[in-house]
Symmetry: C2
Subunit: 231 residues, 2 copies
């Protein structure tokens, strides 16, 4: 019988659902995977889309994580200031075999002190802020530093998950899952990163993120000063 | 104020969650989008992973669809034989502006008679069966024939959704969303289609699908003979 591996996703209100559902699709196929969707309570967790996600456990009763994965989204601002969530991430992050994030989930790891001195990535629009949590920002779609795996924005979570799946179960296994999920991407446009996107798209997105980014920086600053007074 | 557009996803037990959540992430960003997750009842719908999806409406009370989208998965076998679901797909498929599917969701459209004479695609392992529903199988990641848009297996749903988003809201809009979702894919391996995958991966997946495919063909055959007796 295959060894069991507990894959734990950290859920919080207003997460970007694909940050979670992309990796979920890949990592749930790992041999022996037991997937847990952990949240503060068992109430369905609202996301950025029409999807509400019923947790499978609370932070208080979640089994120990072998893989800890934190998705991102605008809800990260509040997640970083949620005592229960942050205690859970600190505790599980200290003992998990793999400590991981997708998109701005990196800042939840960072606010928990788990990215200090680590090379890491996040959504392109938030990249520079990685230095605030003591990480070494690397512009890449997936970054590994020891047992810490971080993915870039949203859809990078799929590339992240295949990288992690290969680490855990081998490249042959990851390749078979990739074939099963027909992951041979062919975006109809070449606009998926700031250096490739048309100027108008970059301007539209930069405008969209500007007010969010100000709120985010304030939340991150509060989360980090809390961590300093209650280490 | 932007015109409202009702994007309706058809949910059924044992769907492949990323077939749905990939397009959801893109299409929920359409200007004026009202996303509806329609199922037979309001009970959370189990998927192939740990995720159960709470519907937002039933087939009986779902608002009229502008975009009808049917995901796939092994649950398609039963979905094609569910009278309520098939009636809903027939009714909404007849009046929706866009009739769409991802992965083996194509066979739900096909069993409803919506792919007759249409060029279409589906998951690579099920491609040949498209002819059984009167479609013209096209080996492509996204296929458009008039108002019918079909995507290939699982992750092809993301490429499908950007193609459809550009059709509905323009290429500039789709490009901006692509940048926001950082969709600049970089799979760690090049194994995402049968002609690229290592032979071992292809063999493993072919073995995985063989028994499923037999059951699928039987279900499709039953669904089609029902449609002939109750057109």
């Amino acid at each position: 019988m295959a060894e069991r591996i507990a894959v734990v996703f950290v859920l919080f209100p207003n997460l970007t659902q694909l940050d979670f559902t992309g990796p979920l699709q890949v990592l749930s196929r790992l041999p022996g995977a037991d997937v847990h969707l952990a949240a503060k309570t068992l109430d369905p967790v609202p996301t950025d889309a029409a999807l509400n996600i019923p947790p499978t456990c609370t932070f208080a009763d979640c089994p120990p994580a072998d893989v800890l994965c934190v998705p991102g989204g605008f809800g990260v601002d509040e997640a970083m200031l949620d005592k229960d969530l942050m205690e859970f991430v600190r505790r599980e992050g200290a003992r998990a075999r793999y400590v991981t994030s997708v998109c701005t989930g990196a800042f939840v790891l960072g606010a928990a002190g788990l990215l200090k001195g680590k090379r890491a990535t996040t959504h392109w629009a938030y990249h520079d802020a990685l230095a605030d949590v003591g990480a070494v920002p690397v512009r890449a779609r997936v970054v590994r530093d020891g047992n810490v795996f971080t993915g870039g924005g949203v859809t990078a979570g799929i590339d992240f998950a295949f990288t992690l799946a290969a680490e855990i179960a081998g490249e042959d296994f990851a390749s078979a899952v990739q074939l099963g999920l027909e992951y041979d991407p062919a975006p109809p446009f070449d606009a998926g990163s700031p250096d490739k996107a048309p100027p108008d798209a970059l301007e539209a997105m930069t405008k969209r993120y500007a007010p969010r980014f100000t709120a985010f920086r304030a939340a991150l600053s509060r989360a980090l000063s809390r961590a300093m007074t209650n280490p």
